[in-house]
């Protein structure tokens, strides 16, 4: 199982705990990530300015993976939707792919549409399989109540995701959480957007959107939120202090990346899973599973 790892822009600088935990967990599961230094941004930010530019950036990245004969696994929801949507556009409009390839010829590249692009979490759920994951769990996180946050682009638009999960009532991440032995709790507004898409346009609106979900997660007393997207985590974790101040409220809700908790359950130490880099301290979570941030049991 060899895959090109598509990190995107945000993870290498703002989501190193996600990257560390995903790499370690993958290795232990027998999944080989291949680093591709030539990968650029997926193209997502260019989409609002010029759709063709975004398609070109996506196609360039996918052409590079194709040259190496590797399917792509992603960790960021926005990267996932951008690459997968480009594939869908090319499938629906072959003339568009021709146009893209004419432009890619300038940099000596060509994309033929052969490779598969999937989010790592989707891959774990769909291909690796929840049952097989469970075989790797050495320390079931039995005492934990975790609130799954899917993030919009993991499941929507559903037409580009072959409906591997329901676009409004998804279950995949809940099942993945349960595989660690933890309980995946229900809460209102589970399908809600983090607001990250408009953080740079109107911060106040974006933070209000983020707040709505934090309020709901607080109501059900979850021990932590579980994210699979670096930008969603920036909103819920990175902006949590700011929201507390702005709206005079308190949350203290840790926001953990799925591979971090999977790794804990597989027997990795919190240090190996990058818990030190979590902005909202997860001490209580770690106490509940019988360890601390340094990794002492």
């Amino acid at each position: 199982m060899r895959y090109a790892l598509f990190l995107g822009c945000t993870i290498p600088v703002r989501g190193q705990n996600y990257e560390m935990s995903a790499r370690k967990v993958a290795e232990a599961l027998g999944i080989e990530f291949v680093d591709v230094p030539e990968f650029s941004c997926c193209g997502f930010p260019a989409k609002s300015v010029d759709f063709m530019t975004s398609l070109l950036m996506s196609a360039r990245n996918m052409a590079i993976a194709e040259e190496k004969g590797l399917d792509i696994l992603t960790l960021c929801n926005a990267c996932t939707v951008t690459l997968v949507e480009a594939q869908e556009e090319f499938r629906k409009h072959p003339e568009l792919l021709e146009e893209v390839n004419k432009k890619l010829a300038r940099i000596g590249k060509k994309y033929t549409g052969k490779i598969k692009v999937r989010h790592f979490a989707r891959f774990l759920y769909e291909e690796y399989g929840v049952e097989k994951l469970k075989e790797h769990v050495k320390r079931p996180l039995e005492n934990l109540n975790l609130a799954a946050h899917y993030g919009c682009h993991f499941i929507r638009p559903s037409e580009v995701y072959e409906e591997f999960d329901d676009p409004e009532h998804p279950v995949s991440l809940d099942r993945l959480i349960e595989a660690t032995g933890a309980r995946s709790v229900d809460y209102m507004e589970k399908e809600k957007c983090c607001g990250g898409g408009i953080l740079g346009i109107k911060e106040e609106d974006a933070l209000k959107m983020t707040k709505e979900k934090l309020d709901e997660v607080k109501k059900v007393n979850a021990d932590a939120m579980i994210s699979i997207c670096p930008f969603c985590s920036i909103m819920y974790e990175g902006s949590q202090k700011k929201i507390e101040k702005l709206f005079e409220t308190e949350y203290g809700i840790p926001v953990l990346y799925y591979p971090q908790v999977l790794g804990l359950a597989m027997g990795f130490t919190p240090e190996e899973m990058g818990f030190k880099l979590n902005r909202v301290r997860a001490n209580k979570v770690l106490e509940k599973v019988g360890g601390d941030e340094k990794g002492r049991d």
Binding site: L7, C9, T10, P12, V13, R14, Q16, E19, M20, R23, D35, P37, E38, S40, C41, P45, A46, K47, S48, V49, D50, F51, M52, T53, L56, M57, R60, E89, K103, L104, R106, I107, K109, C152, H153, R156, P157, S158, P167, E168, E191, K192, C193, G195, G196, G197, I198, G200, I201, K202, D205, A206, K208, M209, E212, G274
Partner: protein, 168 residues
């Protein structure tokens, strides 16, 4: 905005301009039910934003009012409206189409000027500084170097390099 819509001032070709843009094709299917606005998480926190209203204004031909208004940049891209639209108007994609038209007509949001400039300069949205790479090494993560050359050529090819600030 004036309360009276003056027919003389409407641009009847605007809707066709939007339809020609990728993502805008299904615009005229809209029967104004409002499911999009009712589903919209941005609308919940900011009443200025209403996809239904933007679609109506576009079909009516209120070109200037649509393109110069900040509201076309307020869609967070969550796709809930697109999932629920009974007419398959593909509203999230339509918002992208409107932004692309706005850019062509000279209305680009400053946030995107900044993002495009970063992409041109670095090939990525955030700089991976020497400090970041040192931290990455300590964490056992591989080094990351910017490789923007091919991205610059592609931006020249589509013409969006003209939006880049402070080209080297």
């Amino acid at each position: 905005m004036e309360e009276v819509i003056r027919v003389k001032e409407l641009d009847r070709n605007f809707k066709y301009q939007v339809i020609k843009e990728p993502g805008g094709e299904a615009l005229l299917k809209c029967f104004a039910c409002g499911t999009c606005t009712a589903s919209c998480p941005v609308r919940e926190v900011d009443e200025r934003f209403s996809p239904r209203k933007i679609i109506r204004m576009t079909i009516l031909g209120m070109k200037k009012e649509v393109l110069e208004n900040e509201f076309i940049w307020l869609c967070s891209g969550c796709y809930l409206c697109q999932e629920r639209c009974p007419q398959d108007v593909r509203i999230t994609d339509l918002m992208t189409a409107l932004r692309n038209v706005a850019v062509k007509e000279g209305y680009i949001h400053p946030s995107f000027v900044a993002q495009i400039s970063f992409l041109y300069r670095l090939g990525r949205l955030y700089e991976v500084t020497e400090f970041d790479n040192k931290k990455r090494a300590k964490l056992g993560l591989p080094q990351i170097q910017s490789q923007p050359d091919e991205i610059r050529l592609l931006f020249d090819e589509t013409g969006i390099s003209k939006f880049v600030e402070e080209k080297e």
